[in-house]
């Protein structure tokens, strides 16, 4: 039955999602445009993809960005998992408020501030201890670890808050050391959160322009820096082609993740039903005795 209110709801959602998706669709459509003028349709063509594949500058920057993103996401997941464990499981301790502040502040901190402060840190460190020498991939990776680990921490912490602590306690009661409990019990349970944390850190790093611009040196130009300098001069169709490739990768990733997650959900539902049934049987048998 459709009443006035559900029409209102549908209208809101349709308009809202049009707003969110029309720009993305327009990027994809115009990447296949023959004409150099991005907004005039000149027929279907894939020539901008060919042009992109021959652009040494973009390919080099993309390779650097991928390396930086993979490296910093991996370290950010390790550090973020530790921070998430400490915040979710260690209870109150001195300095907890500061730690929780240090993990949430980077989520909202304007990037210009983070970028400037990290650059000044690197310059000072170089003066004092001679490391990191100059600016380049090392400084970009260090900066990206710092701002992406905050996101990983939030993901891991909220996942740990959802799961039942009794499993970990049971393992501990059975004599497992804390490290063993973590690797054999906690880690497998939070593995999906670690994966989504890694992917989030990877995308954020791959996309970062402002912080990278501050801490990069000559010769270490990341993909967003190349895109920004091109886009500043106006639209260019090969950037549309680049955008389309990135969107396609994300779309494929999301479909795979979605299928995997719904399978897991089904398995969980089945387990829950079996547990319920077993429970029911136990209650019945107890009634009989």
């Amino acid at each position: 039955m459709m009443n006035e209110r559900s029409w209102f709801r549908i209208g809101v959602l349709v308009l809202g999602f049009l707003f969110l998706y029309v720009p993305i669709v327009s990027l994809v459509v115009y990447s296949f445009n023959e004409s150099r003028l991005v907004t005039v349709w000149g027929g279907f063509s894939t020539k901008w993809y060919a042009a992109l594949m021959q652009n040494e500058q973009i390919l080099g920057a993309a390779w650097l960005s991928l390396k930086v993103a993979a490296l910093s996401a991996t370290i950010a997941v390790a550090l973020g998992t530790l921070a998430g464990m400490v915040l979710a499981r260690f209870g109150p301790f001195r300095g907890r408020t500061l730690l929780s502040g240090l993990t949430t502040a980077p989520l909202v901190m304007p990037e210009v501030i983070t970028g400037l402060s990290l650059l000044l840190l690197f310059v000072t460190m170089e003066q004092l201890i001679g490391w990191p020498a100059g600016r380049g991939m090392t400084t970009i990776v260090l900066a990206h670890i710092t701002f992406t680990m905050a996101f990983v921490t939030v993901v891991v912490q909220s996942r740990l808050a959802q799961i039942d602590e009794s499993l970990e306690e049971a393992a501990q009661d059975l004599g497992a050391r804390p490290a063993k409990v973590f690797f054999l019990v906690t880690l497998p349970i939070i593995a999906p959160a670690l994966l989504s944390g890694w992917l989030l850190a990877f995308t954020l790093s791959l996309d970062d322009l402002v912080i990278s611009s501050f801490v990069a040196g000559p010769g270490s130009t990341t993909l967003p820096m190349v895109v920004f300098s091109k886009v500043r001069l106006g639209v260019s169709p090969d950037i549309n082609a680049l955008a389309t490739i990135l969107i396609a990768i994300v779309a494929v990733g999301v479909v795979i993740a979605g299928v995997a997650m719904s399978r897991q959900q089904k398995a969980r539902d089945r387990d829950a039903q079996m547990a319920l049934a077993a429970n029911q049987q136990m209650i019945e048998s107890m009634k009989r005795t």
């Binding site: 209110r5 709801r9 809101v12 959602l13 809202g16 969110l20 998706y21 029309v22 720009p23 993305i24 327009s26 990027l27 991005v38 907004t39 005039v40 550090l79 973020g80 530790l82 400490v86 979710a88 260690f90 730690l99 929780s100 502040g101 240090l102 993990t103 949430t104 502040a105 980077p106 989520l107 909202v108 901190m109 304007p110 990037e111 501030i113 400037l116 402060s117 990290l118 000044l120 840190l121 710092t146 680990m149 939030v154 912490q157 808050a161 989030l200 995308t203 996309d207 322009l209 920004f228 886009v231 500043r232 106006g234 639209v235 950037i239 955008a243 990135l246 969107i247 999301v254 979605g258």
Partner: protein, 305 residues
């Protein structure tokens, strides 16, 4: 062996697990602000790095400290900085309000659909976040240009005769900020509205209140924590936004993020850039702490992705 040796001096595994991320964040997030503060008090000079040291040893005995407040005095005296600050706060505030006006009905509508559809809709909200922010802002150049999609559409519909200048205006900046930050508004609002106990609305209806009355008196007050979280998540980063006003706004538009960028990259005046950063941070420290406390109260909830 090592573990036992460490335990003897009072270092347990627990301390180590806490110490590693703690040390990282102190070194790479907290200490940098101290350095920014320090450099904001020094003089610019042509060298590498382009500022004078704050501390100097005279005859290796006396520590000379030169605090230079000139950079801050400069910020106060020069109208440009004031205007940039006020304009950034204004633009961020208006954008946050528009985000709320669009995001609230969307979050509400999503929270009221069937659970199976709900997950798909939430995924659709988060999905743009996974594609490049820079490229999504770039998409709006193609839409808002004089011969862009929107002008072409309006002209072919006969609504306007000649293109309206939309790119390089404040309007374009608002569109860009609202578009980029809308998911940050919807997610905490949804997390809050989803938890709302529907029996409260039934009770209100039973007691004779109309739907809009129940909304104003029950739903809206209960969703205030979600509204605050969403608004802070949009407002704080939007104040320092650099990419959106640079790509979509008028070149003369004053935003503090742009000013900081120009001082640093074009004028190479690191001390003034530092002073701008400190002044911006002082303004944002209260909302950031407020946000952190709200997050902590929710114990890590809210920002699910």
């Amino acid at each position: 062996m090592i573990a036992r040796a460490l335990k003897r001096v009072g270092i347990t595994g627990r301390t180590l697990v806490t110490a590693v991320p703690y040390f990282w964040l102190l070194l790479f997030f907290l200490i940098p602000f101290v350095i920014v503060l320090k450099i904001s008090f020094s003089d610019a000079q042509i060298s590498m790095p382009p500022y004078q040291p704050l501390f100097a040893w005279i005859d290796e005995k006396v520590l000379q400290v030169q605090l230079n407040f000139a950079n801050y005095a400069f910020l106060v005296e020069d109208n440009l900085y004031w205007k940039a600050y006020l304009n950034s706060i204004f633009v961020a505030g208006v954008s946050t309000l528009i985000c709320l006006l669009i995001g609230y009905p969307m979050a509400y509508a999503i929270a009221r659909t069937r659970p199976s559809t709900r997950n798909v809709l939430l995924l659709l909200v988060v999905l743009p976040f996974w594609t490049s922010f820079l490229l999504r802002v770039y998409a709006w150049i193609g839409i808002l240009k004089n011969n862009g999609l929107l002008n072409n559409a309006l002209m072919s519909l006969g609504i306007i005769d000649e293109p309206i200048r939309m790119l390089q205006t404040d309007f374009a900046v608002y569109v860009g900020i609202v578009y980029s930050y809308l998911p940050f508004m919807i997610l905490p609002l949804y997390a809050n509205l989803e938890k709302l106990d529907l029996t409260l609305l039934e009770a209100a209806a039973d007691l004779g209140s109309r739907p809009w009355e129940s909304f104003l008196k029950v739903t809206l007050p209960l969703s205030v924590p979600g509204i605050i979280a969403g608004c802070l998540l949009v407002f704080i980063p939007a104040v320092g936004e650099f990419v959106i006003p640079t790509l979509l706004g008028d070149p003369g538009m004053l935003m503090i993020g742009k000013v900081l960028w120009t001082e640093f990259f074009n004028n190479r005046d690191w001390p003034v850039a530092s002073a701008v950063a400190i002044a911006l941070l002082l303004f944002l420290v209260i909302p950031i702490m407020y946000y952190q406390r709200a997050q902590d109260a929710e114990s890590g909830g809210g920002l699910h992705r």
